[in-house]
Amino acid sequence: MALTELEELKQGLKRQGYIADDNTAMILRLSVLMNKPVLIEGPAGAGKTELAKAWSQYLDRKLIRLQCYEGIDESKALYEWNYQKQLLYIQAQGSDMKKWSDMSKSIYTGEFLLERPLLKAISSEKACVLLIDEIDKSDEEFESFLLEILSDWQISIPETGTVTAASIPSVILTSNNTRNLSHALRRRCFYLYLDYPNEQRELDILRLYFPELKETLGRQAVAFVRRLRLEKLKKHPSISEVIDWVSVLSRMGIEELSDDVAVNTVNILLKYREDCQKIIEKVSQRDWFGGIHNP
């Protein structure tokens, strides 16, 4: 793989509104070449889900998303038999009773199968991007369902047999790192840790969204956010919140970030009252806020 190829990939992602670093580009490229899923860990709001979206647009593939939650099981993720429809079918056939074997064959066919995201992803003719979001929220048993599909690209359905993939999707799993994932799952994936962007990358991201952004305001905003992320807060500002904030600032026609502006708009960045209060107090301290003016 030539380095120009990676550069191209980065440019491609940038066109989709995502600024990736070298490491991200390399791992994504390798994952496609080697047909391996990528497990992305990092703090909430660092752009993990966004990356998956941009990646699917860049590859020009459909994005199939499976949002995990506590208690998600195979009937919500893999497939489910449409039980009510099967019942109706049996009732409709009731008058001319066929043989049992015919019946059991006909009610376990594709018609009665409700495809859930995972099955949909591997049965689609055109390869897609499968995003398994926030896998750490699901229960540990759920991870085991994923193992078969992630390494062998197939799903076993007891009634009909094994469904092998029509195309191999590019799989991205994200995790907020609130619990340890099993070794079995980690072993099957490439690992990528996605932290909040550094100042330069964050500035690039803002420029991408606001081409008109004033140089001074951009630098001050990025420096301010960086400082917020260094504080001990309940929730740190995510990239999307920073974008919202800057868009408000630019609509207000603000050219320079003063302490008044910061105090009045900090609730766009921080979503807890305690956090806001803490930062408003900090802003009034000269040396904490002072450095932002000449970053």
Binding site: M1, A2, L3, D22, N23, M26, I27, L30, L33, M34, K36, L39, E41, G71, D73, S75, Y83, Q84, L87, Q91, D139, N177, T178, R179, N180, H183, R186, R187, C189, F190, Y191, L192, Y193, K232, K234
Partner: protein
């Protein structure tokens, strides 16, 4: 060639407590081939090794550290710094100043220390070709020899003299001490590296192990490691909290309950249109935690409080206590506030620390007097502490027996190494008899093992 290096690294990683599968090694080698190894720069290489083998947040740094220890320090960095050194030394020697250690002039070094020029010192330490052969066994000796040879001793003496004679201010003196400390660390690192280079593989894995966040002793962690480890501890506490019980309840998923489904089918004319499923009900574990807060286990108790707090957030039936020489219940205290403020304000709590020395006998007797009656057979009691009774007469071991009798189980987690359990004022061996289980818990790996064991 690269294959062998990867295999070697994987082997070292395994020995230092990181799980690396054969498939992962194969992936890593394949990926390197795809990347066309001739063109891969080293940071890409570290990142790739983390992506394919270590797979953690801190993995890239860890790999970099291993590679530098194993092969050579970053040649780019040392070369740059080396040049700085030779130029400065050269110009200094032209002016005919004295020399310290093996070449650099003392004045230059003192100046470097005062001006916080760490680069120069780094170059100096790296620049020496020190033979450690005879000193490998003894790190103290090696350190002393190194300090002499690089001029550390002379410079430190000079700085002390300057300060004594009033040539430098207190601030300058303090910053100079900091630099000297850093110099010392540099030397230590260099010794570590040289030892790793010349000594056996076992030694290397031993050092790697002590730097693996999962294996770092709670009592020895530094600030940076503490924040990494804190996250791991919270994850483990969560694991303990979400385990499922055996009782079942009706839910949207789970096994089909036939009798209930048929009963329900009566409403739809005998057709079982909706199935009733039974899911496992999350159990409500009943845990009491007693956490030692004395100074000897200060860092350990920080982690344990984190653990206690996280568990308590998920369980309703939990009571937490802290103690040094007096027992204090903190269940409500923890309930009222979030983690950071709870830990920050611990100092404002009164009544658990009267003398500053832990007194297990007293604490256990208090427990018996006030709380023993509330214990029931479903409760698991967890004591976290080093069992050092500070030579107090009452040790409360008979109370422990009673607790164990009235609770479902009594576990003790001790951060100290097992061979110290019967030494000095540690009464672990005595307490052990009354406990259901006693575990050494000095790092995350051991805590994890304990949790898997009781689950």
């Amino acid at each position: 060639m690269v294959e062998y290096i990867i295999l070697d690294i994987a082997r070292i990683l395994r020995k230092s407590g990181i799980y690396v599968g054969t498939g992962e090694i194969a992936d890593c080698i394949n990926a390197l081939k795809l990347l066309d190894t001739g063109k891969v720069d080293k940071y890409r290489f570290y990142n790739l090794l983390n992506a394919a083998m270590v797979k953690t947040e801190w993995g890239t740094g860890y790999i970099q550290w291993l590679v530098e220890l194993f092969f050579e320090p970053d040649s780019e960095v040392t070369a740059d710094r080396g040049q700085v050194l030779s130029m400065q030394v050269f110009s200094a020697m032209e002016t005919g100043l004295g020399r310290a250690g093996k070449g650099a002039p003392v004045n230059l070094l003192v100046e470097a220390v005062l001006k916080k020029n760490v680069e120069l010192i780094y170059a100096l330490v790296k620049g020496y070709d020190l033979s450690l052969d005879s000193l490998l066994e003894n790190r103290e000796e090696a350190l002393a020899k190194f300090k002499l040879e690089t001029g550390w001793l002379e410079v430190s003496e000079a700085v002390e003299n300057y300060y004594a004679q009033g040539h430098i201010s207190t601030e300058e003196y303090e910053s100079a001490l900091e630099v000297l400390e850093e110099w010392n660390t540099l030397i230590m690192e260099e010794i570590e590296r040289l030892q790793a280079k010349t000594m056996s593989r076992e030694y290397l894995t031993q050092i790697m192990r002590t730097h693996n966040p999962r294996c770092i002793n709670f009592l020895e962690a530094d600030d940076f490691q503490i924040s990494q480890m804190a996250r791991e501890v919270q994850k483990l506490a969560k694991k303990l909290a979400v385990r499922k019980g055996r009782r079942r309840k009706a839910g949207t998923k789970g096994e089909i309950n036939l009798s209930r489904s048929i009963k329900r089918a009566v409403q739809t004319g005998g057709i079982p249109f909706r199935l009733v499923k039974m899911d496992r009900k999350p159990s409500k574990p009943d845990i009491w935690l007693l956490c030692d807060m004395s100074n000897s286990v200060r860092k350990f108790s920080y982690f344990m409080l984190l653990f206690v707090y996280t568990v308590q957030k998920h369980y309703s039936n939990i009571k937490s206590f802290i103690f040094v020489d007096n027992l204090l219940e903190v269940t409500d205290y923890f309930k009222e506030q979030d983690l950071d403020s709870a830990l920050d304000n611990l100092g404002s709590l009164k009544g658990y620390n009267l003398t500053g020395f832990s007194h297990y006998g007293n604490v256990l007797h208090q427990f018996k007097a006030h709380d023993l009656a509330l214990l029931n057979k479903n409760t698991t009691v967890l004591i976290l502490g080093d069992a050092k009774n500070n030579w107090n007469k009452t040790d409360g071991s008979e109370v422990l027996e009673k607790i164990s009798e009235s609770a479902a189980a009594l576990y003790w987690l001790n951060p100290m190494a097992v061979d110290l359990w019967s030494q000095k004022d540690c009464l672990m061996e005595k307490y052990r008899k009354s406990c259901t289980g006693v575990y050494q818990c000095s790092n995350i790996e051991q805590l994890e093992q304990f949790i898997y064991h009781i689950l």
